[in-house]
Structure formats: C-alpha cells, structure tokens
C-alpha cells in the first residue's frame, strides 16, 4: 500500500527530557525517516537550526533556559532566524485551551498532546504535509494562518493580498468562491 515516504525530510526534536527525545526519534525512524537531529532546549535548538536544515520541528513546551514558546517566537520573528517558515509541531503535556491558544498565537502549526502515539505523531506530520498554510504578518503576529477552516469571514477584510485582489477584481468581475478559497489558502 502506498503512503508518504518521509526519508528525505529533516526533523529537529527539541525536548529537555532525554527519554522523550529517544521516544520521538524511535517513532520517526520507525516511520522511515533518516535525518533526525535533537536538542535539549530552545537555545541549543536555535543553534542547531543554523547548521541543520530542518523541514519539520517537533518541540516540547517546558524547557529551560529557553522554553518552547520562546523558541517558537525566536524562529518566527528572530532577526537571525535561519527559517522563519519552518513547520513546528508543539508536543506537550499542557492541553488546556489557554495553552493551545498561546501555542497557536506564538506560531505553531500543529499541537500534539502527550502521551504520544505513532499514529498521533504521524497524523500531525501528515497534516503539515497536506495542508501547507500561508503565513500572516501583522504588527502583532507572524506565523501560519490561524484561520484553519475556510468559512466565509464576516468581519472587515484586513488581509493585504485579499484586499488587493478584491480591489483589482472589483473593477473587472467578481471572484468565484474557488478563487477566494485559493487566495485564502495561499
């Protein structure tokens, strides 16, 4: 049976617990990955990112001195960030809604609650592969589009690309729903 072949992807695991790092690495290898680097905290991970071209980062929350949220913000908005667009899967035991929203607002792509399973981790990896998200830059946020569902937005349209497209098309003809969706999906 055919499935996604992950062997060319580079994964960076960031977790202060060596057993968790070993577990995630074991799962990734069992899923066919070859290139997996790891780091014990956000600062080490950021250094690692300079020489390791990670395609996906799997990151814990509770770490010191630089925790998962600080690391995500550094990757997204740090002036010397090697890859501000890299997909990040936040792996954490913090499953409260406020924490999920905080992680989303820091710029993570996916959220996976511990304890993890191979199926759960693969589902998040697949989601990152299948649903490439456009990035949004506002004065207060830089990261993947937080609007996951493609439902019509009733508020004031503030997105530059959509506004420009709508303005351009207003003089010509209306956008079809598919075109609007395509714009929203990037």
């Amino acid at each position: 049976m055919a499935g996604y072949n992950l062997e060319r992807l580079n994964f960076l695991i960031v977790d202060d617990n060596k057993h968790m790092r070993a577990l995630v690495k074991t799962i990734l290898h069992a899923l066919g990955t070859k290139n997996v680097a790891d780091a014990a905290d956000g600062a080490d991970a950021f250094k690692e990112l300079r020489c390791f071209p990670a395609d996906i980062i799997i990151c814990d929350w509770n770490m010191s001195p630089l925790d998962g949220m600080d690391f995500v913000r550094l990757v997204r908005t740090g002036k010397d960030s090697p890859n501000p667009f890299v997909p990040i899967i936040m792996l954490t035991g913090h499953t409260e809604m406020s924490r999920v929203l905080e992680a989303r607002d820091a710029g993570v792509h996916e959220f996976l609650a511990k304890p993890i399973s191979a199926k759960g981790l693969y589902a998040r990896i697949r989601s990152v592969i299948e649903n490439p998200r456009p990035f949004i830059r506002t004065p207060s946020y830089f990261g993947p589009d937080r609007r996951r569902r493609q439902t019509p937005f009733k508020g004031k349209e503030r997105r530059k690309a959509v506004k420009e497209a709508l303005q351009k098309n207003e003089d010509q003809f209306s956008l079809s729903q598919d075109e609007v969706n395509a714009l929203l999906k990037g």
């Binding site: 968790m20 456009p134 990035f135 506002t138 990037g186």
Partner: protein, 160 residues
C-alpha cells in the same frame, strides 16, 4: 505597516518536493510496526520511570525538610510529575498519566503549601509508586479505579 494592515505570504513549499507517495511509505502496516516498537520500549520505560519516582520522592523530602524553600521544591515536583504525565500513556501505563495529571493540577493550584497539601502530594507519589511496583498497566482495572477515586476524594477535601 499600519495596525490595520495584514500581509499574506505564501512560503516556499519544501515538503512537497521532498515527500513522495510510494509503496515504501507510511501505510497502516508501518504505523502498526511503529506502535509495536513503542510497546517494545515498555521495559526501558519501567527503568527510567524509577528515576522519576526517586526524584519525586527526593523533591518531596526536601520540601518537607526545607520549608523556607518549599515552593522551589514543589516546582520540581510539578516538573517531574509533568514528565510522568506525558510518558505513562505512551507505554501502556495510562494510570500513571491520570495520577500525574491530578498531581500537576493540584500542585498548580497551591498558593500557600501547608501540611495538608504535602500529605496529598505524598499520597500521589505513593500511588504512582504502587502502579509501577504492581505493574498496573492500562487504567489498572478495579484497583486502578478505586485508587483514582481515593485520590479524587482527598483532593476534594483540601479543595473545600
């Protein structure tokens, strides 16, 4: 950029060029093998959770003997319990995750740690130890259920 402005960026899609759909890819059989690999690590888990339990006990004892720094020691208890919470279920010890979750939630709410809080923390640590020494896999059956109910009852008492 004004406060009202939102820039919409399409990043390069590197994943699409590196991931292929092929016969050697991740299929249900691969996932089943991966789950089996995790299950095979249960023996390793039982070794390293011993360290967590020892460290929990150590942090508890320091919290008792060094009350002026009790908050610091309780933070350490939270940190270790949080690790236990995040690992047990992966290796077939869901009850460890349940009890450690209770411990984390209780510890988070403590404002002024007193003897009653320390007693309940100790009960949780003992319960975690019991789950491992008795090899109470999964949710621990009837014994696990009564253990959890007992912990809920004592947490309820100190929460009033």
């Amino acid at each position: 950029m004004s406060d009202d402005e939102v820039e919409f960026i399409t990043p390069p899609n590197k994943l699409q060029s590196k991931v292929t759909m092929s016969a050697g890819g991740v299929d249900p059989a691969t996932l089943a093998r991966a789950e089996a690999v995790i299950a095979s690590l249960q023996g390793n888990y039982l070794q390293w959770v011993e360290d967590d339990l020892t460290n929990l006990q150590g942090a508890y004892e320091r919290a008792m003997s060094d009350p002026s720094n009790r908050r610091v020691h309780i933070s350490e208890i939270f940190r270790i319990a949080h690790d236990v919470k995040g690992q047990g279920g992966s290796f077939g010890y869901q009850l460890m995750t349940v009890i450690a979750t209770y411990l984390c939630r209780m510890v988070e709410k403590i404002e002024n740690p007193g003897p009653e809080h320390m007693a309940v923390i100790k009960l949780h640590i003992d319960a975690l130890r019991l789950v491992i020494t008795q090899r109470m896999e999964g949710t621990g059956g009837a014994a696990g259920e009564s253990l959890v109910k007992g912990l809920e009852a004592v947490i309820g008492k100190i929460s009033r």
